[in-house]
Symmetry: C2
């Protein structure tokens, strides 16, 4: 061990553990009058936010919740969710953000595995809950959340009361204790390709550090930052999806106006964006596509709306379509295990001067450059670091101060995740000489054909540029001769059509340019109404592979003869 | 102790201590081609910066420096200083940034007290060093720094060699070890009113956290951030003065172009600002006054230059004079003990809409609002927290993750500093309902007259608005009848004059407005060529009080008969 000089603090010095409560200090000081908005139903200022967080903390304590207890939340994006993201960890408890789109069996599994003691539940989910609650092993009580004034909890379940009624009974101040900054603050579950959902968890220290670096990344980079203190923020990534990527903590620390849209309804999202003057949002590609395609969007002017895209690769077709409507998309990269921020798109000053706007989009849709404090490499199967030449492919491995330190109660999978002291992302990527990371694929989604590896993402990106195609997914399907062959699902724009020749002609151009080899042209394509998505809006390739045979029988299926 | 859930990380998880080396990761990734400039002599890119830091680390190790050793630096602001601010702590050693403006006796005291093992010394200071070196008790060797190519160290002193020659011998890569994030990284001495200089010290963890919050503060607040990654940075606060307020670490993390001016010469500073396109600097009021007054400044166009002012109160007269030349001044507040950032000027969105530009200046010259993670109160002599009403006066006490945890080897003064678990700043201030902190005075500079307290800063601010006055300092001097009376030193603009009547008339207006009471009008004023400053450019009120009797004998002294 390196023998550095470590001095004992003077006995009276305050040690200042990094705790989530400290993120609350500054936003109110900067802009006490800024609003937190929930749909067209609630609107209050930062002073009230702080008071309501205290009231909720007092209500939880009065309901028997204490340090180390796990409190789950089943709720759409709301001011109440924001309050819970502070109040629950601030009393030393742990917030379990339940993915309400999981199957009932998965929800039961995660509630029992996380050892939830209480569940805050929106009354929309009561029918779901009533079918599951007899199988919960650790839940002692529930708190009802409702948009209807004066709603009262159903009898027959141990409800401590209704959220607003409970808050009203409590004092608007609370002395929050100091404790170990390595205390777990949040937990949630990620569903992999096989097996049960796995629980990741983040500590107070990790969330404070993630917040600070995310602030620097969103606010201090380049001439047009994504979000500074004067922006208006609306998440369009669910708060159960990696804490809405941590942005609610950033926004609250900076005193930004925040708009919470509840359950996502495209027309309402457009209305809120327009009415509240939203300038910064984030979401997966499928959601922005849905928003831009909805009826209310057709007349809207989105100029000045900056949207960060993550969760899935952002393809150029979508970036251009969004830009056409005034929406500036910019990619970022991370995952549940990484809190999530690892990389953000960045266009260097030189490239901004040299490239056309269109050429710059290639940098805005890339996963980007690792953000401050993130150490990232791509490694081959033996763990050898690959050169940053834009061509050498390998798995992304990462180190940062905010990565889950394991999967809860899964020692073997935890060690796999952290093999050799690096977090293994399962994503295959290249890094170029500028440091730009380009995700090529999930390791399990790479298409192995005739001894070659084809990136399903690359292929999707190129197919998305076909004028008739609005959405596309490509997976590898078994082939006796070539091992695997690419199979594509496409959605076409209303009134458009595609056929084998048109797709083939479109892709041949890229074969001629050397961007893909000719074996990458899918031999099988199915035109469908919609493409299956996971619970967080990503392309569900596991599902597509499983349903492959069904698609071939459908009306839209055809073969491209390469 | 609150029993939260603290989980053991999976054995292979990387623990990620917060270390200064991590601040180096991102700047090069964002803008590898950006330049570090030293005067008109050196110009290189971030890749080279990283290589030179490795070379310096290797050279230090080859010269016998290891973890826990203290390496002092006597140097003007340069690329070499920046390199040392990284390389020395990155090998686990401690950089002692010597204030070269201290008296020889004070330098000898601090070198011995800090237990310096090596000194990196610019050849300009060799004559000074030769007179002191026999009294150094722990120094084993020296490293020569010179602007002259091929300079060689003097014989007779144990020099390990010349900086550039040593770097040239070493490899441009280095594996920096991980160690305890609470290891001391930097130390320097602060001179108080009495007694020996006191050593403050900052750990790797503290400097990383300070850097992140300073980045958020400079970059993510309001529509016109002080510094984002596209700005061009030139410090005009010496690097030995609280690490140039920590900004070199911020700039390097963001990949900002950096310009180092060496020894401060006003004409050269103007030339560098103009030629290199500097957009962000920071300094004490006296320095910006000196720059704006120099001959080269008269023809210069400073539009777009943002200058953060700290170290002393920023008065409105100076802010207006600077604005007249295109320089936007903005105040911040902190001190040596606080790393230094505690507060930064902030104008809320509402005030920006409601107030004229001139009225907004009152907020830009205030100490500002505590930055993220800083907890700050004003307390009375018994430690009672005072209300935030803009009127209740008290001493500022603070908590933040980057405050010195004591004075090195001074247990009693350390406990005084941290009495009741809050760092005592010795500054008297008010906080208004918007959270804006206004420093009224140093506790020891408040003028006690006839049972009233008069803020010397308030008085200086009002006198600075007199059209003939370019600089002013006010101190309390003993008075048999009133306990103390205010005494003012003033410097007038070239060609201008002041007399008792003119000063009295000027101040009477503020008496009538109720801003000061009539006892605040100084009865004694001396017009001088220049006002004594401390080694870091602050008004030296200790000196002024000591020389009071001399000033009264001077030509410029007169009495104002109130």
């Amino acid at each position: 061990m390196t023998q550095t000089r470590v001095l004992e603090p003077t006995p009276s010095a305050y040690p200042y553990p990094l705790l989530i409560k400290q993120l609350l200090l500054s936003g109110r000081r900067y802009e006490a009058g800024r609003e937190i908005v929930y749909r067209d139903q609630v609107r209050y200022d930062y002073k009230t936010l702080n008071e309501r967080i205290c009231r909720l903390a007092n209500a939880l304590k009065a309901s028997g919740i204490g340090p180390g207890d796990v409190v789950a939340v089943m709720e759409w994006d709301s001011h109440r969710y924001l309050e819970a993201m502070f109040a629950i960890p601030m009393i030393g408890a742990i917030i379990h953000t339940i993915n309400v789109r999981l199957s009932p069996d998965q929800i039961i599994y995660t509630v029992n595995h996380a050892e939830d003691k209480m569940i805050l539940v929106n009354d929309e989910f009561l029918p779901l809950l009533e079918g599951m609650q007899s199988q919960f092993e650790t839940v002692e009580s529930y708190m009802l959340i409702s948009d209807s004034e004066g709603a009262s909890p159903p009898t027959g379940l141990p409800f401590v009361g209704e959220y607003e009624a409970l808050l009203a009974q409590q004092a608007p101040h609370c002395d929050f204790p100091d404790f170990d900054e390595n205390s777990v603050a949040t937990t949630f579950y990620t569903t992999g390709t096989t097996g049960n959902p796995k629980g990741v968890y983040f500590t107070h220290r990790q969330l404070v550090l993630h917040t600070l670096v995310e602030t620097a990344t969103l606010g201090a980079l380049g001439r047009s930052p994504l979000m500074n203190s004067d922006d208006v923020y609306m998440p369009v990534t669910p708060m159960f999806h990696v804490h809405a990527w941590g942005v609610p903590y950033v926004a609250t620390m900076l005193g930004v106006k925040q708009v919470y849209p509840g359950r996502y309804e495209p027309d309402l999202l457009v209305d809120l964006q327009q009415r509240e003057g939203v300038t910064y949002s984030h979401c997966v590609p499928a959601i922005i596509q849905m928003i831009l395609g909805c009826s209310r969007a057709q007349q809207a002017n989105f100029d000045g709306w900056k949207v960060l895209i993550g969760g899935s690769a952002l393809n150029k077709g979508l970036a251009l379509a969004a830009l056409n409507k005034g929406v500036q998309l910019s990619a970022a990269y991370g995952m549940s295990e990484t809190c999530p921020l690892l990389c953000g798109a960045y266009v260097t000053e030189t490239l901004r001067e040299e490239l056309t706007d269109d050429q710059q989009i290639d940098y805005r849709i890339a996963a980007g450059i690792p953000v401050p404090l993130v150490q990232l490499e791509v490694v081959d199967a033996e763990g050898n670091v690959q050169p940053h030449d834009g061509e050498s492919v390998g798995e992304i491995v990462a180190r940062a101060p905010w990565l889950t330190q394991g999967y809860f109660k899964e020692p073997e999978k935890s060690e796999e995740l952290w093999a050799n002291g690096w977090l293994h992302t399962g994503d295959v990527a290249t890094i170029d000489e500028l440091g730009t990371v380009r995700i090529r694929d999930r390791i399990k989604d790479v298409i192995k054909t005739g001894g070659e590896w084809i990136s399903s993402l690359d292929l999707e990106g190129l197919m998305s540029l076909h004028p008739a195609i609005s959405e596309v997914a490509v997976v590898g399907v078994p082939d006796p001769q070539w091992d695997e062959r690419p199979f594509a699902l496409v959605v076409v724009h209303p009134g458009e059509e595609v056929d084998a020749a048109s797709i083939k002609d479109h892709l041949k151009r890229y074969v001629e340019e050397g961007r893909i080899n000719k074996w990458a042209i899918p031999t099988q394509v199915a035109v469908v109404e919609s493409i299956p998505k996971t619970s967080v809006g990503k392309l569900n390739k596991k599902q597509i592979r499983a349903d492959y045979a069904e698609y071939l029988k459908g009306d839209g299926a055809f073969l491209s003869s390469v």
